[in-house]
């Protein structure tokens, strides 16, 4: 995107080109200029920063402000039948079915949700990157085996398999795989990673197939560069843009996956706060028409988080994509 050359008509009618001052812009600057115009993406980025701060400090801070520890149960916050009571001046978000402060739980829930979303997405990106790069770059039988493996994972009913794995690892004191997989966050992250990497692998493979035929890769190969060097220095840098975009889209997907597992009672333990497990109380206890706060606050945070990541992902994708219109 260069400026048209300046010119002026001389007295004789000839056109004389003047010295041209071309404003050269680096890809990074172009990216930033495009992203800066996207107010939704910027707003989402701010929201995500706030959510990360909540995840880091929100739990302890809310505990300090309210004086209500996360695990503390309050008899006064359930009625004579054990039904939780709603928001008041001391319990801003009301209480959950055990009489715990929902505000504190929701703040701690941010930590769980973001931790699971980010860590599981990180592992999925790493595995997907390695598998996709390998399959796309080497092709042949390697490509066939790895791609079909990914296809198989895409074809299996994920929730059912996830339910099976989580349930199997929860029945003994030592977990499963000789204690390697303990019920709780570890299993949840493993399960989500297992079913997430194949999406990334498929995308990376497609980009790699295209990039390996480019002239700069041919040049590197002609210059005697090793496969590893080509992958590391020529192809990988060109994948960073798409990877960043897809990671922002994968994180909210995985946050919802964790919420779904917790909603089914298979996620984090009931004593640990998670937006999904808080929402599950509404259903399993049949509290949705008497304890609206249990649905509203965790649900609202879940919506805001997933929306923010999705909008940021959209913005990043558009900013990276020079063909997109503004």
């Amino acid at each position: 995107m260069t400026n048209p050359p300046d010119f002026e008509v001389t007295a004789g009618g000839a056109i004389a080109l003047q010295s041209i001052a071309v404003a050269r812009k680096t890809p990074r600057r172009l990216f930033w200029e495009r992203l800066r115009q996207d107010k939704a993406a910027l707003g989402s980025a701010v929201a995500i920063v706030l959510l990360v701060l909540i995840a880091i400090a929100g739990g302890p801070l809310s505990q300090w402000v309210t004086g209500h520890p996360q695990s503390q149960t309050y008899d006064s916050m359930t009625d004579a039948y054990g039904v939780p009571l709603g928001p008041n001046s001391h319990f801003w978000f009301g209480a959950d079915s055990s009489g715990r402060d929902l505000f504190v739980l929701t703040m701690y829930g941010a930590r769980t949700s973001l931790f699971v979303g980010v860590v599981a997405s990180g592992f999925a990106m790493l595995i997907g990157l390695v598998v996709g790069l390998t399959a796309g770059f080497f092709g042949g039988i390697v490509d066939t085996v790895l791609s079909r493996l990914g296809d198989i994972l895409l074809a299996v009913p994920q929730i059912l398999i996830a339910v099976g794995i989580v349930a199997a690892c929860g029945v003994s004191k030592s977990g499963c795989l000789h204690g390697l997989l303990q019920p709780g966050l570890t299993v949840v992250i493993v399960v989500i990673t297992l079913f997430s990497w194949s999406y990334i692998a498929r995308i990376v493979r497609g980009y790699t197939l295209s990039l390996r035929e480019k002239e700069f890769v041919e040049s590197a190969r002609a210059a005697g560069a090793s496969n590893f060097r080509i992958l590391w220095q020529e192809i990988l840098p060109n994948l960073m843009g798409p990877l960043i975009v897809y990671s922002t889209l994968l994180i909210p997907t995985n946050i919802l996956f964790e919420a779904a597992l917790s909603y089914l009672g298979l996620g984090v333990p009931v004593t640990e706060a998670s937006w999904g497990s808080l929402l599950s109380q509404v259903s399993s206890s049949g509290l949705y028409n008497v304890a609206w706060w249990l649905m509203l606050f965790p649900g609202m945070f879940l919506i805001i988080t997933t929306l923010a990541f999705n909008l940021l992902g959209d913005g990043l994708r558009d900013a990276f994509d020079v063909r997109s219109e503004r």
Partner: protein
Amino acid sequence: MLAKTLQKGDYRVRKILRFALAAGLVAAFVVFAAGCGSKKSSNGSTTTTSNSSNSAYPGTYANGSSAKGGTYTIGWEASFGFTDNFDPTGEYLGNAWGLYSNLMLRALVGYKHLPGAAGNDLVGDLATAVPTPTDNGLTYTYKLRSGVKYAPPVNRAVTSQDVAYAMNRLASPNDGGEYPFYYTVIKGWDAVASGKATTVSGISTPDSSTIVFHLTAPTGDFNRRMSMPATAPIPPEVGKCFEGSKSANGAYGRDVISSGPYMFQGASGKFTSCAALKPFSGYAGANGSHIILVRNPNYDQSTDPYRKNYVDTFKFVVNSNADDIFAKVQAGQYDDEVSAPTPKTIEQYATSSTLKPRMIPNVGDRTNYITMNLTQPPFDDLHVRKAMNYIINKAALQKAWGGPIPGSIATHVVPPVLYNGGLSEYDPYATPTESGSVAKAAAEMKQSKYDPGHTGKCTASVCKNVVMISDVRSVDKTMAPIIENDAAEIGIHLTIRSVNGAYPVIQKPGNNIPISDRSSWGKDYADPYTFFAELFDGGAIIKEGNTNYSLVGITPAMAKTVGATGTVTNVPTVDPDINACAKALGQARITCWENLDKKLMTSVVPWVPYLWPNNVFIVGPQVTHWNYDQFTDGPAYSSVSVKQ
């Protein structure tokens, strides 16, 4: 202008619209949630309920006249949860007994299927009468009624040899019996149990309508023991298809041959061979979705004075969502439920004059408790177990179940009703309003080896990451944080594992589970023996299906056999006490059990008992008659009726 802008794909406009849509979604969500809650605010949430005494519960419901016909549909929460795949020889689930006793099986003696004390009166069922023992209490002779026939595909008359076969099956170590210990008093039983004989010598059948039991010692409650489902007749020609190997354990459950008024749907034709015997369609398996029972065409009502059998078909339908179950009961899609009403449901019914009659609390003859494993640290220390009894907020756990209607707070092992009201004031770990006491708990904890600094908190590393097995039922999810919070007050940090079906996990001693809140026990019959023998007899500890979760009385040798590890030496035992009380009669027997209860609560302390539950049932609008069956602690299915 706007159209043109959109045609060009103006990015900002799209973003603004997307934001507006998102904001609208959030707003709609808020409005919807608030709208859902409006009903609650009009009802108020501070209504209190009277702490009704158990005698206030008549256990009956009537809504019109009873007539024959119709289908009675029961929503069954989560899964059937059978202990032996519905095979009567090994099935120990109380809800399964409700089906057996009311609908499918006729043991020698039975009950009237009524609520209250009358429901615990023994009557002849397959036998013509409850026999009086002879030979100084050592011989029991039962005469069988004529005209009792098996359902298809067997179709023949029930004989005394069929009862003897069921007893031998129960005695055999290979056929998965869960409570054979009740019958070791029969001569020759142990020889079969140890594999030295194949038939119990103390059981004889002089003719096809007479069966005689010879005992080694007088046993005051022997007739009651013969009311249990495992003693009901099994036709040997079918039973033999499923015996003798571990893999066959419980498989008979799919083809139970009915001797009662109802049978599995799909039971038909004539039995020819084991190979030709297919699973009946009315039983979808222990992990299946349904049980359907239809009338047994060979049943003769004149042989049965105590079952009314109004309904044509029973449908037991598994439903994973308790709230959905109660919504369907309220709407009339289900007539009954095998579930636990949530606090919200109890409040809804208790505060509505129209719904209240359809909620029927009944005395449960049951104790809910937190079980602590005596071999697993930190619960291998008596003072830790006592501290747990002081710290647990029983009032909060009672509320988790829905307040006083679902049950009263338990203070010891056996409900006072089984002591004829005895020990009703006994409360060795009393705290103000039963809400727990940090001071009392800390005083106990200071004496523990796991609190070397006498801080009042468990400071040893064994108190970190202590696994507690819980279930995924909503009430368990509510209780777990309360227990976790209470235990943390004395330095015990629990790691909660919520599993779908906690019993199979805690019933394996080899899993070495330190603590669980899922445990609950109801009487097998109206005698405290049915608590103590099964829950605390060290000799009854088995590798799978074990119900002595605390491993009271386990020995190192036995621990090796069942895979239990940890502190397996010098585990306290009450085996001699159980044996002594079992021989006692009359009031001396009751007093003996009471003393054993006290000993358990003060010297052994394997539990934190927290609730003597009332069994609260909610019936649908189509139900015209319902009553409680005190023996099975569930609905008297043989008496229920529905509108046509």
